[in-house]
């Protein structure tokens, strides 16, 4: 719970409890939106169901606009917000590995637990695979260490690199996201499947 636990307003135990409640809520919403179906997730790659893309980009631009408006009203100081540092090469390689797992398994880590929770066997198998992957990385860390730490760019913002204001960049990103949504709608019609 962001500012509450970092500033030690709530104890780590309370923090875990809140995380548990939020996690349960998140999982419930995921399940109810059909994300516990591996077919829905794999649909992103085959073009018959672009819900994943729409959900995540809507989430992204909503948070982006929300933070900028909060900053505008003086409710939040964006300089105080922790930004995960960017490690360029490990991000690219990690993204490819994640994508490959996504398309072959039909789940991402969160949704596999969703699937397993409602008794889907493929979800459970995916979780086993997930832990094998975690162990593989942990024990092989010396091999991956150079890659893991390569391309450290600190915590840059695209708007700073390009030299625009945060607001203008937000507008561009929203426009791009919306354009993608319309393309996604078209793709869904083009590659429609009756039953899945």
């Amino acid at each position: 719970m962001g500012p509450l636990s970092v500033n030690e307003i709530i104890s780590p135990d309370t923090n875990f409890f809140l995380a548990f409640l939020i996690g349960t809520g998140f999982g419930f919403v995921l399940e109810q939106s059909g994300f516990s179906s591996s077919r829905k997730l794999a649909g992103l790659f085959y073009g018959y169901d672009m819900v994943v893309l729409k959900v995540f980009f809507t989430g992204g631009v909503t948070a982006l606009l929300g933070l900028l408006f909060f900053s505008l009203f003086g409710w939040i100081d964006l300089n105080m917000v922790y930004v995960n540092p960017t490690f360029l090469w490990s991000s690219i390689v990690g993204g490819l590995v994640m994508g490959a797992g996504f398309i072959t398994g039909g789940y991402c880590p969160g949704t596999s637990f969703c699937g397993a929770a409602i008794g889907k066997i493929d979800g459970m198998i995916f979780i086993i695979g997930l832990f094998i992957g975690v162990m593989f990385f942990a024990y092989g860390y010396p091999i991956f260490e150079t890659l893991y730490k390569s391309g450290n760019m600190g915590a840059p913002k695209i708007s700073t690199i390009v030299g625009t204001s945060d607001g203008l960049f937000a507008l561009i990103l929203v426009a791009v996201a919306l354009a993608m949504f319309y393309v996604a709608e078209w793709v869904e019609k083009r590659f429609a499947r009756e039953e899945y």
């Binding site: 962001g2 636990s5 970092v6 995540f56 809507t58 631009v61 606009l65 900028l68 408006f69 900053s71 505008l72 009203f73 003086g74 100081d77 300089n79 105080m80 922790y82 995960n84 991402c108 880590p109 969160g110 949704t111 600190g154 915590a155 204001s165 945060d166 607001g167 203008l168 937000a170 507008l171 929203v174 426009a175 996201a177 919306l178 949504f181 319309y182 709608e185």
Partner: protein, 209 residues
């Protein structure tokens, strides 16, 4: 209208507003006198010489030592990798980028800890983060790192370990050949060293899909 059209309208409208209004650059975050007093009393700004030595030896890229003494003293002796920002220039605009940032750990030092603490107090009051003070200043640095004292007979294990570390650090940082700085102001010299307090760092956020 389809839901997607509603979404388009709302998002575009909000994004247009945010693109057209000027960015809010005011800094609402400033410490009140009471908050500052609490920080001073708990001494969160102090970093022990051992930790600083450890970071210098490990060539920690996030470490930035800042010497707040005058340039003359800085030329005579400074810690490895330190830059010089005399106390009177601490608020000057050309130093803002160095002092107000989120990636490095700035550590102020002076001969004692008074001047460095003043630098910390000033920057903290205007809301800058990640600035710290070398505990006890250069004088204490000389005592602990450059010329470490062997613990008495039958030392505790951790005392011995600390001594070993300091001896090694002293060798790595070219100790022994240096004499302690003698230009320390009289007010600084006899000052008791503050208690060791762990450095608070920003906690990482975690989460994901």
């Amino acid at each position: 209208m389809k839901p997607l059209h509603y979404l388009t309208l709302v998002l575009l409208l909000l994004a247009l507003v945010i693109a057209l209004v000027p960015q809010n650059t005011t800094r609402p975050y400033k410490l009140t006198a009471e908050q500052l007093l609490t920080e001073i009393r708990t001494g969160t700004q102090f970093v022990s010489p051992d930790e600083v030595a450890d970071r210098i030896i490990k060539k920690d890229p996030s470490l930035q030592l800042i010497d707040v003494r005058n340039p003359r003293e800085f030329d005579v002796f400074s810690l490895p990798g330190a830059i010089n920002i005399p106390l009177q220039d601490i608020l000057s605009e050309k130093n803002t980028d160095l002092l107000n940032q989120g990636t490095k750990m700035n550590i102020f030092y002076s001969n004692g800890s008074t001047e460095a603490n003043e630098a910390w107090l000033l920057t903290r009051q205007i809301g800058y983060q990640n600035n710290y003070v070398l505990q006890g200043g250069l004088n204490y640095w000389m005592e602990t790192i450059v010329n470490p004292q062997k613990p008495g007979t039958l030392p505790a294990n951790d005392e011995m370990a600390r001594y070993d570390f300091r001896k090694a650090a002293s060798m790595a940082l070219g100790g022994g050949s240096l004499t302690p700085v003698t230009t320390a102001p009289a007010t600084d010299a006899g000052k008791a060293t503050p208690g060791v307090v762990p450095v608070k760092k920003k906690k990482k956020a975690s989460g994901g899909c």
